[in-house]
């Protein structure tokens, strides 16, 4: 083996450490991700609705009131964890929630909603994940707060917890 090659592990190692160092020094919060779409209009989309017999057209739905958009799937464990809070948004706060069903089997989704309860006013189906790509979704569950003008005000990645629930509620009051 060439002697020069033996230095490769140390170079790789230092490279990785430098990356970590850079990430430590910049301001970031790994669970709160900035959206490129923040303060921009929502991406338009049109798709089938899981529970209704008509097509879901985004331009008809958004822009009237504050709406939460929640990406979910039955195969996603954390979605189950956050379901309680999503339900509380619609039951206690009366907020309209649109649940985008991401890469899921419609049968399972219907069963899921009927057994756990359906907090969503409508469930557009994102069968191949195209809508999620347009929204810049990084991993589900993800929740967006959309203002009454159809503008994305907040994005949360991961399950909505008690803390996030309060935060979103405050934010919604602010926007109002």
């Amino acid at each position: 083996m060439k002697k020069q090659l033996l230095i490769i592990p140390s170079i790789l190692f230092l490279f990785i450490l430098l990356t970590f160092f850079y990430l430590l020094t910049i301001e970031r919060n790994p669970s709160e991700l900035p959206s490129n779409l923040l303060d921009k209009k929502i991406p338009k989309f049109e798709t089938e609705s899981l529970l209704k017999n008509e097509r879901f057209v985004s331009s008809k739905e958004f822009g009237k009131e504050i709406i939460l958009v929640n990406f979910f799937a039955t195969w996603c464990q954390p979605c189950r964890v956050e379901h309680t809070y999503i339900t509380r948004f619609s039951n206690e706060k009366g907020i309209r929630i649109i649940g985008i069903n991401y890469k899921d089997s419609p049968k399972k989704a219907v069963k899921w909603l009927s057994s756990l309860g359906n907090p969503y006013s409508d469930v557009p189906v994102d069968k191949d994940g195209r809508i999620a790509i347009d929204w810049g979704v990084y991993g589900i569950p993800e929740t967006f707060v959309i203002s009454s003008k159809g503008i994305i005000k907040y994005r949360h990645i991961g399950p909505v917890t008690g803390k996030i629930y309060k935060k979103i509620n405050l934010l919604i009051k602010d926007i109002e």
């Binding site: 083996m1 002697k3 033996l6 230095i7 592990p9 140390s10 190692f13 230092l14 990785i16 450490l17 990356t19 970590f20 160092f21 850079y22 990430l23 430590l24 020094t25 790994p30 669970s31 991700l33 464990q77 189950r80 309680t84 899921w112 057994s115 756990l116 309860g117 990084y138 991993g139």
Partner: protein
């Protein structure tokens, strides 16, 4: 008073560590060295147990106790609360480090004095780094004046017996690699170390680290299974990966040490592996502690600490890897192995383990690299790991079944076939039998079952033959792996899940079991209040099998909810019930899992642990005959 003494002991241990570093560097007086080593051990023991005392008597003048304890907590969790937080866990880390330091010192004799002293010097340097880190950024003895009447409580999700002993075992694993690291660096930096059988010194430490890491990881999985209530036991979470990666390298290291012992080949490779195993242990801990990555297990976060530990990692990592680059040349050899031999099979396994480790490492840090260079975020999850790790593991396990039966050097192929023919037969019969019972045909299921019985039957045959050539600890550990694969396959391929909303007296079916929701009641304990469901489980003959009582606990002090799954276990399957939210009008959400063969995962891990322990024994005895 007591906390001040603890603090003093911590500073004393820093002093002894520094003196050990200086004295062993000058390597003059044995008296001074033994004084430093023993002083270091005793002072770190004292500081650790004084912190534990503060936790047990609930001394809320100590910030660490105030933040992590409460008078109503059961004694077990007062004790485990010591390492259930960042500051206290550092103290445990230091204690384990000094224990290994002491064991290295115990190996000292006239013949190996230069080598052991060099090892102690490096071990002292590592210890200094961690004590300084603790003292400067996370001192557990920080006071809080005036003392508070009661504490903030202890994260309820960590109040679990498996998790109470999981960190100490895991730390023995991580820190055990520090000894291998020190030995490796000492070997590289000494000039005439080729004559020292450094691998014989390294092996008991690696065996210890690997064995305890195995059982530590298994207990973490047990905790996730019982406490998280998600029906699974492994989630490819960064914290899990942080323990899995050193385990993979440890596995490779343990096996290649056998080749070094017997054939004196692969020495440079083993020296590198032992450096990497420890670095990965520290980097993994750093990743989760610094908050660079988030995870479901993260319970101690502070980015400011990150910088310190990163500099420390850069120091020891940079030094050891550059040293390896400059000095490892003389440990290279040009021995070629035939593929069809014991060393060939170990080498193949080595490569596969390292590839798996690199794959997991890439998955864990790739999102970070992408973020640093492109400022965009991506996520790597379970699908990545399942689709990359499993295919690499399959050939590794195939080789693992046959490798130990092969001889050193060259093996006659027809002879080998005769040896493995019975196990091929057993594997085939058992696989068909299992599929007749479970009636489920999935490719991964078949592969898993075949691999499992392939390992089990090969090792049983070796066990029966009682050939002295086969190490008994190896057979036990490998048997454990076979059982482990059986459990993993069963629980991941044939798991069934049912989520429904149930009212009192309603029933539901899963597999052949009927489950009746009998009643729900409130129970009160010192540290929590719970809603406890009561479910009756009947089999197909309408005979009652068990009562399951899942709980929804509320911990008032921490203002936190947890779910306690209730599980009925037998050798064939687990029935697992989790109670969700609900009320008496609409009913409660109930999640029921049918998890086949889960218990074999835990049995397998215990059997591996047993094999590991007996291997530590054997290796220590070997070392004794050496001196």
């Amino acid at each position: 008073m007591v906390p001040s003494l603890g603090n003093l002991a911590l500073y004393l241990s820093l002093f002894f560590a520094i003196s050990q570093f200086i004295v062993s560097r000058k390597n003059k007086n044995l008296k001074f060295i033994s004084l430093s080593v023993i002083g270091l051990l005793i002072s770190s023991l004292i500081s650790f147990f004084l912190l534990m005392y503060s936790h047990v008597v609930s001394d809320f003048s100590v910030l660490n106790v105030f933040q992590n304890s409460h008078t109503t907590k059961p004694l077990l969790y007062k004790i485990s609360g010591v390492w259930g937080n960042h500051e206290g866990s550092m103290l445990l880390w230091i204690l384990v480090l000094t224990l290994f330091n002491y064991f290295i010192f115990k190996l000292f004799n006239k013949k190996n004095s230069v080598f052991i002293l060099k090892t102690l010097e490096i071990q002292a340097f590592i210890t200094i780094g961690f004590i300084l880190f603790t003292v400067l950024t996370s001192n557990p003895f920080e006071r809080m004046i005036p003392a508070q009447a009661n504490g903030l409580g202890f994260n309820p999700i960590l109040q679990d017996p498996a998790l109470a002993i999981h960190p100490p075992l895991l730390y023995i694993g991580y820190v055990g690699f520090s000894a291998a690291f020190s030995i490796s660096v000492a070997t590289l930096s000494l000039n005439n170390s080729e004559k020292i059988p450094w691998y014989n010194y390294m092996k008991p430490f690696v065996a210890t680290a690997w064995t305890f890491l195995t059982i530590g990881i298994a207990l973490g999985a047990v905790w996730a299974y019982y406490e998280l209530g998600w029906g699974g036991w492994w989630f490819w979470d960064p914290v899990e990966n942080a323990s899995f990666m050193p385990w993979l390298l440890g596995t490779a290291l343990l096996h290649s040490l056998i080749i070094v012992e017997k054939r004196k080949s692969l020495q440079a490779w083993v020296l590198l592996l032992s450096i990497l195993a420890f670095l990965l242990s520290v980097v993994g801990t750093f990743l989760v502690r610094s908050g660079i990555l988030t995870s479901v297990h993260t319970f101690a976060l502070d980015p400011s600490r990150g910088i310190y530990i990163l500099i420390f990692i850069a120091l020891i990592g940079g030094y050891s890897l550059i040293l390896f680059g400059l000095k490892s040349k003389r440990y290279f050899d040009n021995n070629y192995f035939t593929f069809f031999s014991k060393e060939g099979s170990i080498l193949v396994n080595n490569i596969l383990m390292v590839v798996v480790c690199a794959t997991v490492f890439l998955g864990t840090i790739y999102p970070l690299l992408v973020e640093a260079f492109t400022n965009s975020k991506i996520s790597v999850g379970e699908p990545y790991y399942n689709s990359t790790v499993i295919p690499i593991m399959i050939p590794a396990i195939l080789v693992m079944g046959i490798g130990p039966m092969l001889g050193w050097g060259k093996e006659d192929k027809s002879k080998v076939f005769k040896k493995i023919f019975p196990s091929i037969l057993i594997t085939a019969v058992m696989t068909i039998l299992i599929f007749l019972i479970y009636q489920s045909y999935s490719v991964i299921g078949i592969v898993g079952i075949v691999l499992s019985f392939w390992i089990i039957s090969n090792n049983l045959i070796m066990l029966i033959k009682k050939n002295k050539k086969y190490s008994i600890s190896m057979i036990i550990a490998h048997l454990g792996v076979g059982l482990l694969i059986l459990g993993i396959t069963g629980s991941s391929v044939w798991q069934e899940e049912k989520i429904t909303r149930m009212k009192i007296d309603e029933k539901t079916k899963i597999e052949k079991y009927t489950i009746v929701f009998n009643k729900i009641e409130e129970i009160r304990r010192s540290n929590y209040i719970a809603l406890q469901g009561n479910f009756l489980v009947f089999d197909e003959k309408r005979k009652i099998i068990t009562k399951l009582k899942p709980e929804n606990r509320f911990y008032p002090i921490e203002n936190n909810f947890t779910t306690e799954a209730s599980i009925h276990t037998n050798l064939f399957r687990d029935l697992y019930i989790v109670l969700g939210e609900g009320n008496s009008n609409d009913g409660w959400v109930v999640r029921i899992y049918y998890n086949p063969l889960v218990i074999w995962i835990w049995i397998g891990a215990l059997v591996i642990f047993w094999g590991g322990i007996s291997s530590i024994n054997i290796n220590l005895r070997k070392l004794k005959t050496l001196s």
